[in-house]
Symmetry: C2
């Protein structure tokens, strides 16, 4: 029925919609409104990957994660995935495969996350923003999978990305 | 340095923190602040599960999902998981196993999701709120897994919950 943008910041909008419920009454819906995000799973020719260790301010914890970054309006998912892989992991990839999409926070965000497999990799330098604390760790893929799955507080987005990689592998593809 | 609650609604707070960056400057951080959420994976004695088909207003789509619901301050994760399984799936469970925790939206929400395995199930009636459009589908577990993994836009939280179930199974447990 109506949409009100309550806050706009450089990363996302925070909005309030009023919409008609099944019983005919009008309900409020508060949510984060943003174009999306792009994650990549880098895999080197030797079967290793580059996993990130990221300080997450909101959780007061360091998490193991795949590279991920937010999109701005009008940006191309692949271009954002390439930029984030370069900035966060210091990697350049020449071979990109779309693995799928998921909604990380369906109840309170419009965000759709696009997941890519990044291969044919070359190492360059990280380019971090002053707000980012990220270290890069090159690991055999099985060790990276264990690091993601076994941490006390998992990163939901990396676990969902792994599920999309496994779907691609189950369809007969190989790394 | 400072915390400002910009919006408080029945489901979450939306806040702005100002904090000191590595370079000494002060950065703003906008985020959803909430106690957490609880998801459950119901498994019947015959190996079937109950998967939900949920209309997600923010995505304009129906998603396959495991039951999940938000916590309010001071609530117990298990009690919330029990309440949500009853309300959304119409199920009562007598056997509960904690599978783990993940952060669904680490960059813009403090939410931690607690994941439970729910067994020894009895069927009761759904108790939906007027804002909820949810149908319940009893499926063999492999079919439910395929429904979650194969959808065009996946539910990141259900995929992360599946990863925690698989971790538990890999540790030698059985359903």
């Amino acid at each position: 029925m109506s949409r009100q943008l309550l806050v706009q910041n450089p990363w996302h909008g925070y909005a309030l919609d009023r919409y008609v419920l099944r019983d005919g009454s009008v309900g409020p819906y508060y949510y984060i409104d943003m174009p999306g995000s792009c994650a990549s799973i880098p895999v080197f020719a030797d079967g290793t990957t580059a996993l990130l260790r990221v300080w997450r301010y909101l959780l007061g914890a360091e998490l193991w994660e795949f590279p991920i970054g937010g999109m701005r309006a009008g940006e191309d998912p692949l271009a954002v995935a390439q930029k984030e892989l370069h900035e966060e992991a210091g990697l350049l990839a020449r071979d990109w495969t779309m693995l799928g999409r998921f909604a990380p926070y369906k109840g309170a965000s419009t965000e759709r996350c696009h997941v890519f497999l990044a291969r044919d990799l070359a190492e360059d330098h990280q380019q971090l923003e002053s707000s980012e604390r990220i270290s890069v760790h090159r690991l055999p893929f099985a060790a990276a999978r264990a690091a993601l799955v076994d941490q006390e507080l998992g990163d939901g987005q990396s676990l969902a990305a792994l599920a999309l990689l496994d779907r691609w592998l189950l369809r007969g593809n190989t790394l």
